[in-house]
């Protein structure tokens, strides 16, 4: 089961990458929907491991994604599905494995019939469609996308792990909001990276980051990181403002979203204080 969870994690990421690199709206939508389903599989398998008291981590293999055609990536994802199915115990009475296997069978068929596309997500062109940025603004945007795509992936895993190991409904509501928010940012930044021709898979997150020993310290640090992210958004918004009012507005929009994350993390801190004082 541990290996199945790792493979589901890898399949989720591989499918997200395929969605980023796809430029055709219908394909992209389907791939994002499938990646969301795979993320849920990953979560359900994780939960089953916790229930069975089996130790696990979010370690995984490197995921090669540099392809010229979408069909090459889809073939790779189909192989991943086959591998997951080979690890499942598919019986109707085994609800989770049965559900995953039927999902994968359907998704495999859709992927095998998906219209092919030429992939430009690795062109290194570093131009944004319809926008002419200065070299300085292009460098700033490039660095931001690498830093923040990884950061959002890291946050998804951290909050996911915290949620999986908490039975506190108040905290879990906060963690779920933060997971959803990071999934959205991850999707937008990954998409932008693909548009710029600099798509990369986020690196493996070190265990000590998500296996948080001191949640209060983590939340304090997290608030500082959110403040730093706001500052990065502000700087980037300024850097691109002259050449692209659309990008300027986008980064202001992201910047303002961080305010609510900070408020939620402060709520979580208050909640911890309340628990400590009971």
């Amino acid at each position: 089961m541990k290996n199945t969870m790792v493979k589901a994690h890898e399949a989720w990421l591989a499918t997200s990458m395929a969605a980023f690199m796809s430029a055709q709206t219908e394909n992209k939508q389907i791939l994002f929907d499938f990646s969301n389903i795979l993320f849920r599989h990953f979560n359900w398998l994780e939960n089953a491991l916790i229930e069975a008291d089996i130790a696990y981590s979010y370690d995984r293999d490197v995921i090669p994604v540099k392809v010229d055609k979408l069909s090459d990536m889809l073939a790779n994802i189909v192989q991943r599905f086959d591998e997951i199915v080979s690890l499942l115990d598919v019986k109707e009475e085994n609800a989770l494995d049965y559900r995953i296997s039927t999902d994968l069978a359907y998704m495999k068929e859709v992927l095998q019939n998906m219209e092919d596309e030429t992939v430009t997500a690795f062109s290194l062109e570093r131009t944004f469609p319809g926008v002419e940025l200065t070299e300085e603004a292009t460098d700033a945007l490039t660095l931001f996308l690498f830093e923040e795509t990884y950061k959002e992936y890291e946050l998804i895993l951290i909050y996911n792990y915290l949620k999986a190991h908490s039975s506190d409904a108040y905290l879990n509501r906060i963690f779920q909001i933060l997971i959803d928010e990071s999934l959205f940012h991850f999707k937008r930044f990954g998409d932008m990276g693909a548009h710029m021709g600099i798509l990369g898979v986020p690196r493996v997150v070190m265990k000590e980051l998500y296996q948080v020993e001191d949640v209060v310290k983590f939340l304090y640090d997290g608030i500082d990181e959110e403040l730093a992210a706001k500052e990065e958004c502000r700087k980037l918004s300024e850097a691109v403002a002259k050449d692209s009012p659309e990008l300027e507005k986008f980064f202001n929009f992201i910047n303002r979203q961080e305010n609510y994350h900070i408020a939620l993390m402060k709520d979580a801190l208050k909640h911890f204080e309340k628990i400590a004082n009971v």
Binding site: R126, T142, G200, E208
Partner: protein, 158 residues
């Protein structure tokens, strides 16, 4: 960080990122100022009794500059004998004052982690269970910590 295609390639696909299943030694480079760190894992091969880096991996809690430095330096270190690795570390340390402070701290952290791994390996030749060595950077990454005071109070109150 000014960008060329080679640099962006290291950002997109960092070389040697990850860990080794059964490393001969590990080493840590740490920035106590902001909690960033680099872990290096090495597998040492023997060539006519002269040990060399047969395989090397790194993991980082840090920024993109740290990951790029890790990708580049581990590529350089692969295949070198242990004296060659120490020379690489020394050469990197000698270049640090030409870099902006935040880049210097990141490169120093990677170089020190590599040194720590090689030093750990050498210590383990005499003492099998010698603990993993950690070295701390001297260069400052100049990170503001707006919540430092509250955290200090929290630490004191624990």
């Amino acid at each position: 960080m000014s960008m060329d295609a080679q640099l962006i390639e290291h950002m997109m696909n960092p070389k040697n990122y990850g860990s080794l299943e059964n490393p001969d030694a590990e080493g840590i480079g740490k920035n106590p100022e902001n909690g960033e760190k680099v872990a290096i894992y090495i597998a040492v091969g023997k060539d006519e009794e002269k040990p060399y880096i047969d395989d090397i991996r790194f993991q980082a809690i840090g920024c993109t500059t740290t990951v790029v430095a890790g990708s580049m330096l581990t590529e350089e270190a692969k295949g070198l004998n242990l004296t060659g690795v120490q020379n690489l570390v020394e050469a990197t340390m000698n270049l640090l004052d030409r870099l902006p402070p935040e880049d210097a701290a990141c490169s120093e952290m990677v170089a020190l982690a590599i040194k720590a791994a090689v030093d750990t390996y050498e210590k383990r030749l005499a003492e099998k269970d010698y603990p993993t060595i950690t070295y701390q950077v001297v260069n400052s990454c100049v990170v503001k910590e707006p919540h430092a005071e509250e955290e200090k109070q929290y630490e004191e109150g624990k």
